[in-house]
């Protein structure tokens, strides 16, 4: 067990954890409010680029976590 002051410095006290979570939510809300997002249609080229990466992601996911289930 770490000493209390080190635990507190690491942010392990419940008060700090709750405060940090609240601050994160505030920050996210502010980021979302300030941000303007006008979506545009996905092009075939963009979808192809996404699926190329996605293929590697799902292959690694299957190999590392599910293949030997």
């Amino acid at each position: 067990m770490l000493p209390d002051d080190i635990m507190a410095a690491l942010g392990e006290s419940p008060e700090k954890v709750i405060l940090r979570a609240l601050l994160e939510r505030l920050l996210i809300r502010r980021l979302l409010q300030e941000e303007e997002v006008e979506p545009e249609p996905d092009t075939e080229e963009e979808i192809r680029a996404v699926l190329e990466i996605d293929k590697r992601v799902k292959e690694a996911l299957w190999r590392e976590f599910y293949e030997q289930r």
Binding site: E24, R25, L27, I28, L31, L32, V37, E38, P39, E40, P41, D42, E46, I47, A49, V50, L51, I53, D54, R56, V57, K58, E59, A60, L61, W62, E64, F65, Y66, R69
Partner: protein, 134 residues
């Protein structure tokens, strides 16, 4: 949702995937390990993204707040059934269908056409543009 949605949301400034995840009132779920695997590929995503590194980090931060994680025990509880359903197309898509089954959802959000297979099993396959039109 599968990982293609998160990848798209991190790659394009005016991403319809990002718009759907952050502006439309739906609940989005993905397996916990899938998020970890996207993290493992962040370098590649960053290299090919229109977003500056800080913008990408901000979006990641926001997306983690919007996306709910399905626990691994719940995914595995439905994995065999999902493999049976997806096996003919691509078995590696099964964890996403298992997560959908676990939360009692009604649609898979993905760019991957292999998920059209879920429509034979009572679920819908939607792309971001489909949700925007709903």
């Amino acid at each position: 949702m599968n990982t293609s949605i998160m990848i798209s949301a991190l790659m394009k400034k005016r991403s319809s995937a990002y718009y759907v995840l952050t502006r439309l009132e739906h609940e989005y779920f993905t397996p916990a390990y899938a998020l970890m695997e996207v993290f493992e590929h962040l370098d590649e995503i960053e290299r090919r993204s229109e977003l500056a590194p800080l913008e990408l980090f901000e979006r990641l931060f926001i997306l983690l707040e919007q996306i709910k994680v399905v626990g691994e025990d719940e995914v595995r509880a439905h994995l065999d059934e999902a493999i049976e359903a997806m096996g003919e197309r691509d078995v590696r898509d099964a964890p996403f269908l298992a997560a959908l089954m676990a939360v009692g959802g009604d649609a898979i959000l993905s760019y991957d056409e292999d998920f059209s297979e879920v429509e034979r099993h009572g679920y819908r396959w939607l792309k971001p543009s489909d949700i925007i039109r709903l």
